[in-house]
């Protein structure tokens, strides 16, 4: 449904920038691979976030200058990164103690499907010949205080990613509280998907048609952030 030539709604960068606005100063944040990684570029002035990468670094900084990287200083996506002043290295058992023990404030993940009860499917399409691979996604879902999703509203084939219930294998149950897409910001509430904000130029009906479960309109008393 999305047109390839004309951008409708937010770009990936704009989605990341929008999400970044909602992260409080001083948060410990784990960013998944892909669009979530872009969030780090858009932290508003005056806020300081500490990035955790599950392969053993707290205080992850941006990519190194060309030729300045270290093969053994990488992020969860296996790309070379840097370490900020105040960083620390630790082993995997300690790293996932941070995750599982509820010490990380926010995790931002990509998604295949998000159900209206907050279930997330993001690790497997369940195809019989696919090579299963899960990484740390289930641990992040199980342990991090808040888990946000950042994703295109629909698949490349135009199928809704926000659904009544996930058909793909689950990553975590009832854990997603916010979804940031190219079209909207949506909160997952006990009543289901609750629209919080439309992307510039996007109408409610347009989002509703592309959402695979009931979508509650922006309530009168909620101010747009």
């Amino acid at each position: 449904m999305n047109q390839q030539s004309t951008q409708i709604g937010r770009t990936r960068e704009q989605m990341a920038q929008r999400l970044a606005l909602d992260i409080p100063d001083g948060s410990y944040v784990n960013l998944g691979i892909g669009i979530p990684e872009l969030v780090a570029k858009f932290v508003p002035d005056g806020r300081e976030l500490i990035y955790h990468t599950e392969n053993g670094l707290l205080g992850m900084g941006p990519s190194p200058e060309e030729g300045q990287g270290d093969h053994e200083l990488i992020n969860a996506g296996k790309r070379q990164v840097t370490a900020i002043a105040g960083a620390s290295y630790f082993h995997h058992a300690d790293s996932f103690a941070m995750i599982r023990g509820g010490h990380i404030d926010l995790c931002v993940l990509g998604a295949l499907q998000i159900a209206q009860n907050g279930d997330l499917a993001n690790w497997s399409t369940g195809e019989p010949d696919a090579i299963p691979a899960v990484g740390g996604a289930m641990d992040l879902c199980a342990g991090v205080k808040s888990v946000y999703v950042i994703t295109q509203h629909c698949t490349k084939q135009g199928e809704p990613k926000l659904v009544e219930s996930c058909t793909y294998p689950l990553t975590g149950l009832g854990v997603i509280t916010r979804v940031y897409t190219d079209l909207a910001v949506i909160e997952v509430t006990p009543a289901g998907f609750q629209l919080i904000e439309l992307s510039p130029g996007i109408k409610f009906e347009y989002v509703k048609e592309r959402t695979g479960a009931p979508l509650l309109p922006i309530p009168q008393h909620v101010a747009v952030k």
Binding site: F90, F96, A97, R100
Partner: protein
């Protein structure tokens, strides 16, 4: 900007509430955060549960907190000391309850609490009075006892150095229970001799990463419990 340093031990413990569960680092005098404990005595909260390997000596530090009758329960591996009658008197009078835990089980329960592990099986204490009434289970023909993770409302810890992000280094065997207690405390408070700027500690040598630490207090010349006891000191 992240800056976890607070101005004083008093400020660091100001929000401790009646009935709180408080972990206190230290093995004997090594790693005992005496200045934080004394601030807690001044602060006044009551009915505390203290999780600590020992119960202090003389009438300073942890023993002074007990003596002030502010502790209703201790979770501990070795509450006896040669030079303190504070805990024995409270225990015999029934004023302070004791949950006696083998030292390794205590350390592991604290680490589990901080690591999001609600329970685990351990071989320690199987068949002894300390496993009585507890669930046991066989794995590979051996018997293990189920033990539960421990968390605390506050952890009071002594380190040596910290940066303002809360990264902590310790001194020798004063490290002991500090790192797992920092993990298990909902609010973890660390007193250190020296507070530095981020970047001054080598990230390879940080023992407790700042994510586990909420407040850092500079106490440049901390007292040694054995010296206070030898001098006959009491607190307050």
């Amino acid at each position: 900007m992240i800056n976890k340093q607070v101005a004083s031990a008093a400020e660091a413990v100001a929000d401790v509430f009646d009935g709180a569960v408080i972990m206190v680092s230290g093995f004997g005098e090594a790693g005992s955060p005496i200045e934080l404990i004394h601030a807690l005595i001044d602060q006044g909260s009551r009915d505390l549960t203290i999780v600590s390997n020992n119960c202090g000596s003389g009438e300073v530090g942890l023993a002074a907190l007990l003596k002030a009758e502010r502790v209703s329960k201790v979770v501990c591996s070795f509450p006896r000391t040669a030079n303190s009658t504070v805990f024995p008197d409270l225990y015999r009078s029934g004023k302070t309850k004791l949950e006696l835990v083998p030292q390794g089980t205590l350390a592991e329960r604290i680490r589990a609490g901080g690591a999001g592990i609600p329970a685990f099986y351990t071989p320690s204490a199987v068949g002894t009075p300390l496993a009585e009434g507890k669930e046991t289970r066989e794995f590979d023909g051996n018997t293990f006892v189920l033990e539960h993770g421990l968390r605390a409302d506050f952890s009071l810890i002594k380190g040596r150095s910290a940066d303002t992000h809360g990264n902590i280094l310790y001194n020798k065997t004063a490290r002991n229970f500090g790192p797992p207690m920092a993990m298990a405390g909902k609010i973890s408070i660390v007193q250190v001799e020296r507070v530095v700027e981020p970047g001054e500690l080598d990230p390879e040598t940080v023992v407790t990463p700042g994510i586990f630490v909420d407040r850092v207090v500079g106490v440049p010349s901390p007292a040694h419990e054995s010296e206070l006891v030898a001098a006959g000191a009491t607190y307050p």
